[in-house]
């Protein structure tokens, strides 16, 4: 039994084999299952009377799939690993809400900040956004310099715990 996340929507699937017959069980419904690898990354899948072609590739435990004319992110849920990514206690750090560039930095290590005060200004999608302190506290470290680029989820400023 495996839970597969199809763009965040969980789907329960089971693959069963009896002799040389295969079956796929989806949300309790069973159907004969067959597949064929056409070229690397390209497969044809038959489930019951449904036949479809998919292109797929795996990267860091997630599958990027193209099927039915659109793209999907499909992640098998391994029950032994924790779901989600803990990027550190959010109240202790300002995390980049989107990829961008650091425009200006208003604080340095050791500064006292109050909740909501502007610590940094970033630019993304041709717009400026202020990065504010999530709570009152003292700045432990500013991780990037002016002009640096970063990805979504990057830690920008850490407050002392």
């Amino acid at each position: 039994m495996a839970t597969i996340l199809l763009n965040e929507e969980p789907i329960e699937t089971i693959v069963r084999q009896f002799g040389d017959s295969w079956f796929g069980i989806v949300e309790g419904e069973t159907g004969p299952l067959a597949w064929e690898e056409i070229t690397p990354n390209h497969f044809k899948i038959w489930l019951g009377d449904e036949e479809t072609a998919v292109t797929l590739v795996e990267h860091n435990g997630t599958y990027f799939v193209h099927g039915y004319g659109r793209s999907w992110t499909i992640t098998p849920q391994n029950p032994l690993t924790k779901a989600g990514a803990g990027a550190g206690d959010s109240a202790n750090a300002a995390i980049a809400p989107m990829p961008g560039t650091v425009v200006s930095i208003n604080v340095q290590a050791g500064d006292e900040v109050t909740q909501g005060s502007i610590m940094m200004t970033i630019e993304s999608m041709k717009m400026l956004t202020d990065i504010t302190a999530p709570r009152d506290g003292m700045v432990e470290e500013v991780h990037l310099a002016e002009g640096a680029t970063f990805d979504k989820g990057a830690t920008l400023v850490t407050l002392e715990a």
């Binding site: 495996a2 597969i4 199809l6 929507e9 789907i11 699937t13 693959v15 084999q17 009896f18 002799g19 040389d20 017959s21 796929g24 989806v26 949300e27 419904e29 159907g31 299952l33 597949w35 990354n41 497969f43 899948i45 489930l47 019951g48 449904e50 479809t52 998919v54 292109t55 797929l56 590739v57 795996e58 990267h59 599958y63 990027f64 799939v65 193209h66 099927g67 039915y68 004319g69 659109r70 793209s71 992110t73 499909i74 098998p76 809400p97 989107m98 990829p99 961008g100 560039t101 425009v103 630019e123 993304s124 999608m125 041709k126 717009m127 400026l128 002009g147 680029t149 990805d151 979504k152």
Partner: protein, 472 residues
């Protein structure tokens, strides 16, 4: 580069390390790397670019779009160094590049414009801005490309909007001067492609409609515009030619207008460069605009008169972005693991990426342009749907599926839209839901990858597999 190859002219591509894997760099005859504190700074380094011309012996520069394409200082510098700038003369670039100067020029030449006012002092602008009436648009005078613009609907919002727009303008263009103009409600964006040689000949290559925009950024463009009667088309195109002639324009350019629902149109601005969406014009006219730009820069007269330009069929372009429409269009990043362009007749792809590249936040998130060309608009839309649904780009989230939903909206099919289309109808852009069985097929395709697969005949039946080893 494709055009240069066809014309058998050697081309040098200048690039920053972030673009080292781009198709242009790979097909260039020679390349020169630029360096800078940021990738953008590298592409704005005029001295380095001039040096690259000298060291490679290049005697002409095609500035493309963005960066220095509309920079009069750059064009002037090339002129001083006896390097041909493929575009209009520096004074025309300066004229049209400054929105305020362009508007004054329009007024002097009896070209209709929207009521507006330019900032004269730095404090009193709120009072001046109000005179154009609400709703109004605050814009950066030195701006373009949809940046540094904000709509203000009432007087109470004005002060804050002025502050914000000024800082965005300073950041993007290094100039915080603003102007305010009346915002025409439900406008359509119509632009006309102009081509002029150095001998005084000016023609238009028809109009494009670019009303499908999100926050002033174009998303879908098409030629011809489904909103124009033949009479209105002639009037708008001739007005564009008049503007080009009056300004002694040379080379390719685009005159932008806004069209009000009642058929009135107003000159907006002129872009003194080739536009991102030029392919739709190339398809309906059969003219290679880049080739004509090069020929004009080389001193040749235009190879056709206005009457000889033919318009056939309908072309629509979609801009593919690395963004997540479900997350308020936040830019996305990631490796391009699989990249397969659609392979259908009538579909053209202009791409800046390929498999193996990494999408990063260093540049504009536009990845590629998908263009469909059909005998009429309905055929073009059908082709576009086929192209979008068969475009495979895996590893980085894109807006491809969202575009598919957008062009499938009934109002797009009937061309019943204006520049507010995306903002107003976005919630209705959904593709049909898959059946559970279809979702299952996709999920199982992945589940099968996770299983160690072995040939079925080597797998024992469950009963037999449960037996322990035994000897007879």
């Amino acid at each position: 580069m494709k055009t240069l190859k066809a014309l058998e002219i050697p081309g040098v591509v200048i690039y920053h390390a972030a673009d080292a894997n781009s198709p242009a760099v790979k097909t260039a005859d020679e390349t020169v790397e630029l360096f800078g504190s940021t990738p953008v700074a590298a592409y704005l380094d005029i001295d380095a670019i001039v040096e690259a011309c000298k060291s490679t012996g290049a005697n002409a520069v095609h500035p493309g779009f963005g960066f220095l394409a509309e920079n009069g200082k750059f064009a002037r510098r090339l002129q001083e160094e006896n390097i041909i700038f493929i575009g209009p003369k520096p004074n025309v670039i300066d004229l049209m590049g400054n929105k305020i100067a362009a508007r004054s020029f329009a007024i002097e030449n009896d070209i209709p414009i929207v009521p507006s006012v330019t900032q004269t002092g730095s404090d009193a602008f709120a009072k001046e801005a109000e005179t154009v009436g609400f709703p109004l648009l605050l814009k950066a005078a030195a701006g373009g490309g949809g940046k540094g613009m904000n709509i203000v609907r009432q007087a109470s919002e004005l002060e804050a909007a002025i502050k914000l727009t000024r800082s965005e303008a300073e950041r993007a263009f290094g100039d915080g001067t603003l102007y305010a103009e009346r915002y025409v409600e439900q406008p359509r964006h119509i632009e006309v492609q102009i081509l002029a040689d150095q001998h005084g000949n000016v023609v238009h290559l028809g109009e494009r409609e670019c009303s499908i925009q999100r926050r002033f950024q174009k998303v879908v463009e098409e030629a011809p515009s489904p909103a124009l009667t033949p009479e209105l088309r002639a009037e708008i195109c001739e007005t564009a030619v008049h503007i080009a002639q009056s300004s002694n324009y040379q080379n390719a350019g685009t005159v932008e207008f806004i069209l009000a629902p009642n058929g009135e149109f107003f000159f907006l601005e002129m872009n003194t460069r080739l536009q991102v969406e030029h392919p739709v014009t190339e398809l309906v006219t059969g003219v290679d605009l880049v080739a004509e730009q090069i020929r004009v820069a080389n001193g040749e007269p235009l190879p056709f008169t206005q009457a000889e330009i033919q318009f056939n069929g309908h072309a629509i372009e979609c801009r593919l972005y690395a963004e997540d429409p479900a997350d308020d269009f936040a830019p996305t990043t990631g490796p391009i693991l699989v990249y397969e362009e659609p392979n259908c007749e009538g579909i053209r792809v202009d791409s800046g990426v390929e498999a193996g590249m990494r999408v990063t936040s260093a540049f504009d998130p536009m990845l590629a342009k998908l263009i469909a060309y059909g005998s009429d608009r309905a055929a073009a839309i059908a082709l576009l749907k086929e192209g979008l649904s068969s475009f495979v780009l895996l590893g980085c989230q894109t807006n491809i599926d969202w575009l598919h939903a957008l062009i499938s909206h009934p109002d797009f099919a009937t061309a019943d839209f204006h520049t507010g289309f995306i903002a107003n109808k976005m919630d209705e852009f959904v593709l049909p839901e898959l059946t559970t069985q279809q979702k299952g097929a996709l999920a199982l395709a992945v589940a099968l990858q996770e299983r160690p697969l072995s040939s079925p005949e080597l797998q024992p039946l469950p009963m037999h597999a449960a037996m322990g080893g035994w000897r007879n």
